[in-house]
C-alpha cells in the first residue's frame, strides 16, 4: 500500500508539499503567535526581544493609555459606520445591476469595481487632495464623531465595491421565479423583496459586512492620507508608537484587536450556519 505512487491530490504524502505547509505555518502563524506571547513579556522599556517573565501589566497599561483608547474607539466607530453604509450601498448597487438592463451597463459596472483595482496609495492621495480642496482636512474645530467624517467617507469608498461584488455574486444564484411566486401569492414588490430576496441575500450580506469591517479596521494607507492631525485611528496610532519604541503595550493592543476579529468572524459564521 505504501509503495504506490502518490496521486496529484495526495498532499500529505508528498514531502515537497509538506515543506510548503511548514513554511506557510512559519511565516503566517508564527509571527502572530510570537506577537501574542510577547504581549505578556515582563520586559523593560526600550525593547521586547528577550523573554523576561510573565506579566499582564502591559494590558493594564494599554487600556490605561488614553490616546490609544481614543484611537481604538475611533477605529471601531469608523468601521461600524462605514460597514453599515457599505452594505446598504453595496446591496442597492448589486440589486440594481442584477435587476435592470440599461445603456452603458458594462461601463457602469467597471466604474463601480474601480476602487478594488486602483492602487491604495493613489486613492489615498486623490482623496487627500479632494478633501483639502473642499477645506475638510482641518478637523480640529469639529466635534467627535463629525471629525471622523473624512475617514468614514474614504472607507466607504473603498469597501462598498467589495460589498457590491459579494452580494451580486450571491444574487446570481437567485431563481427569479421565487420572487414571482411571492408576487403571485399576494405580496407587493416591497414584501417580495423583504420576504424572499433579502433572506436569499443574507449570507452575502454577512460576508459583505465582515469584509467591509475588516477592510476598514486595519486600513492604514488611505486613513493616513485622509485623517487630520487630531483624528487618529488604531493602525495609525500603532504606527506612530512603533516609530517611537516597540513595547509589549503594542503587542497587547494588537492581541486585543486579533481577538476581536476572531470572535466576530466566529459569530458571523455561526449565524450564517444557523440561518441556512
Amino acid at each position: 500500500m505504501a509503495t504506490d505512487k502518490a496521486g496529484p491530490f495526495d498532499y500529505s504524502r508528498k514531502w515537497s508539499l509538506r515543506l510548503v505547509f511548514v513554511f506557510g505555518a512559519i511565516f503566517l502563524y508564527l509571527p502572530i503567535i510570537v506577537l501574542i506571547v510577547f504581549s505578556f513579556n515582563d520586559s523593560r522599556r526600550g525593547g521586547n526581544v528577550i523573554w523576561k517573565g510573565f506579566t499582564t501589566k502591559y494590558y493594564e497599561k494599554a487600556f490605561g493609555n488614553e490616546e490609544l483608547m481614543l484611537a481604538f474607539g475611533n477605529s471601531l466607530t469608523i468601521a461600524v459606520t462605514s460597514t453599515v453604509a457599505s452594505v446598504l450601498l453595496g446591496t442597492l448597487a448589486a440589486v440594481f445591476l442584477w435587476r435592470f438592463r440599461f445603456p452603458f451597463k458594462p461601463a457602469f459596472e467597471g466604474l463601480i469595481a474601480l476602487p478594488i483595482v486602483i492602487p491604495e496609495i493613489c486613492m489615498g492621495v486623490s482623496l487627500a487632495m479632494f478633501f483639502s480642496q473642499m477645506g475638510w482636512m482641518d478637523t480640529s474645530n469639529r466635534f467627535w464623531p463629525i471629525n471622523l467624517g473624512n475617514i468614514i467617507i474614504a472607507h466607504i469608498t473603498f469597501s462598498f465595491p467589495f460589498a457590491a461584488m459579494v452580494i451580486r455574486t450571491r444574487l446570481a444564484s437567485f431563481n427569479p421565479e421565487m420572487a414571482e411566486a411571492a408576487r403571485d401569492l399576494g405580496a407587493n414588490e416591497w414584501q417580495a423583496f423583504r420576504d424572499i430576496l433579502v433572506p436569499h441575500m443574507r449570507p452575502g450580506l454577512i460576508a459583505a459586512a465582515l469584509l467591509s469591517f475588516t477592510l476598514s479596521l486595519d486600513d492604514f494607507v488611505v486613513t493616513f492620507f485622509t485623517s487630520g492631525p487630531s483624528t487618529v485611528t488604531f493602525p495609525v496610532k500603532i504606527y506612530s508608537m512603533v516609530r517611537f519604541s516597540v513595547t509589549p503595550e503594542i503587542n497587547a493592543a494588537s492581541t486585543v484587536l486579533i481577538l476581536m476579529t476572531l470572535v466576530l468572524t466566529y459569530l458571523a459564521l455561526r449565524y450564517q450556519r444557523l440561518a441556512s
Partner: protein, 405 residues
C-alpha cells in the same frame, strides 16, 4: 347544457419583446371548471400567454378578462389567479407550513384562519406529516405538492400550471397526472396547464389550445383535434400523419351530394365531391366540405396537403381492395408491439410510410422476406385535405357549437 359565461376571456392579445413578436392576436375563452391546456412546441408562446394571465407580463395589445372584468393591467398580487411554477419556486428558507401560509399572510388573514386553511391544504396534498420540514428535506414530487397546496390554499379562480409534469420521473409523472385530474375534480377550480407534451395534454384536458410560432392554431377537445385538425401542423402535432402535396383540386359538379342542386350554388363549407390531384397518389375522390383557406383549382406548391394517419394505413402482399388509395413499396422493419405491429414500407422515391396493423397481418408479413414487394393502402375517406397553415379562427366556431348543443 347551458352556455356559461367564460371564466377567462383572452381578447386579441399580442405580445412583443423588442422586435420579437411572441404572440399574435390570440383570442380564446376558458370555461369555468374545465382543464384547459396550452399546447405547442417550445418557443410557441404558450408560457408567455400563461405569464400574461398571471400578470408577470402586460399585453402589447388586446386585453384579458376574468369573470367579466378587464384585469390586463392589474399586478400579479391583485389577480385572483395562482400559479404552480415549473421550478416549483418553493421558498427554501421557510418551512412547508410557512410556504403554504405565505399567501394568506400576505392577504392579512387572521392567524386562526391561516392555520386552519394551511392544515386543510396540506391534508389535501397528503403533506400534513411534513408541515414543519424545510423544502430542502423534501423530494421533487413533494416540493411540487407544496407548490400546489400553496396556490390552492388561496382558493383562486384559476390555477395556472407551467409544465407541471416535466420535472418528474416517468413513473411519478403518470401518478401525478391522475392525481392532478382528481384534485381538479374535488376542488372544482379551473386549471390552465402549459405543456409541450401532446399525450399529456390529450390525457388530462377537457379542451386544448394549440399554439405555434405565436399563432393560435386550433382550440378544441382532444377528440376534435385528433379527428378534425384545422391544418397540417395540428394534424402532425396531435399524433402522426403522412402528408402528400396536392397540385390541383376540382369540384365535381356532375355528382349530386345531398339531392339538391350541388355544385354551382354550393359555397365553401357545404359538402361536395372533390377530385384531388396529387403527384404521388394520383387523383383521389373525396366527399367533404372544402376547408377554410383552400380554393379549388391549381394549388401553390407545398401549401395544400392530403394527410392520412398511420393507424388508418394497412398493408398487403396481394392486391389492395377496390376503391382504396394505394402505394407500392418494399417491406421494411416490423416492430412488434403486442396486439399491434408497426410496419415500415419503403416507397420507390426512397421516402417511408408506416402502417399500424393487427396480429393476423403481422404474422403473414413475418413470413415474407425484407424487401419483398408490398402495397400500402387505406380507405380514401380516412384522408383529410388540409392547408399547411390555417388562420385560426376556431374560437368562434367552438363557441357556436357549445351554444347550439
Amino acid at each position: 347544457m347551458t352556455a356559461d359565461a367564460p371564466i377567462l376571456s383572452i381578447r386579441g392579445v399580442s405580445k412583443r419583446f423588442g422586435d420579437v413578436t411572441v404572440l399574435k392576436d390570440i383570442s380564446l375563452d376558458i370555461e369555468p371548471g374545465e382543464i384547459f391546456s396550452l399546447l405547442g412546441p417550445s418557443g410557441c408562446g404558450k408560457s408567455t400567454l400563461l405569464r400574461l394571465v398571471a400578470g408577470f407580463e402586460t399585453p402589447t395589445s388586446g386585453s384579458i378578462w376574468l369573470d367579466g372584468k378587464d384585469m390586463s393591467r392589474l399586478p400579479p398580487n391583485r389577480r385572483p389567479v395562482n400559479m404552480v411554477f415549473q421550478s416549483y419556486a418553493v421558498f427554501p428558507h421557510m418551512s412547508v407550513e410557512d410556504n403554504v401560509g405565505y399567501g394568506l399572510v400576505a392577504d392579512r388573514r387572521p392567524r386562526a384562519e391561516i392555520d386552519q386553511r394551511t392544515a386543510e391544504a396540506l391534508e389535501q396534498v397528503q403533506l400534513d406529516a411534513f408541515a414543519n420540514r424545510k423544502p430542502g428535506e423534501l423530494s421533487g414530487g413533494q416540493r411540487q405538492r407544496v407548490a400546489l397546496a400553496r396556490a390552492l390554499v388561496k382558493r383562486p379562480r384559476l390555477l395556472l400550471l407551467d409544465e407541471p409534469l416535466s420535472a418528474l420521473d416517468a413513473k411519478l409523472r403518470d401518478a401525478m397526472r391522475l392525481e392532478l385530474v382528481k384534485l381538479q375534480e374535488s376542488v372544482g377550480i379551473t386549471f390552465v396547464i402549459v405543456t409541450h407534451d401532446q399525450s399529456e395534454a390529450m390525457a388530462m384536458s377537457d379542451r386544448i389550445a394549440i399554439l405555434e410560432g405565436g399563432h393560435l392554431r386550433q382550440v378544441g377537445s382532444p377528440a376534435e383535434l385528433y379527428r378534425k385538425p384545422s391544418d397540417a401542423f395540428v394534424a402532425g402535432f396531435i399524433g402522426n400523419v403522412h402528408a402528400f402535396d396536392v397540385q390541383r383540386i376540382d369540384v365535381d359538379v356532375d355528382v349530386d351530394v345531398d339531392g339538391a342542386g350541388a355544385g354551382a350554388g354550393a359555397g365553401a363549407g357545404a359538402e361536395m365531391v372533390l377530385d384531388i390531384a396529387s403527384a404521388r397518389l394520383g387523383t383521389v375522390r373525396l366527399t367533404m366540405d372544402l376547408p377554410k383557406g383552400i380554393e379549388p383549382g391549381e394549388q401553390a406548391p407545398d401549401s395544400t396537403l392530403l394527410v392520412v394517419r398511420p393507424e388508418h394505413v394497412s398493408v398487403t402482399l396481394d392486391e389492395p381492395p377496390q376503391g382504396s388509395v394505394s402505394l407500392i413499396g418494399q417491406l421494411g422493419d416490423i416492430a412488434f408491439q403486442g396486439s399491434r405491429s408497426i410496419v415500415e414500407v419503403q416507397l420507390a422515391d426512397s421516402s417511408g410510410l408506416t402502417a399500424i396493423v393487427d396480429e393476423s397481418i403481422a404474422d403473414r408479413l413475418q413470413a415474407a422476406d425484407a424487401g419483398a414487394p408490398i402495397t400500402a393502402f387505406w380507405n380514401a375517406d380516412t384522408m383529410r385535405l388540409l392547408a399547411r397553415h390555417a388562420q385560426a379562427t376556431s374560437t368562434t366556431t367552438t363557441t357556436t357549437t357549445t351554444v347550439e348543443s
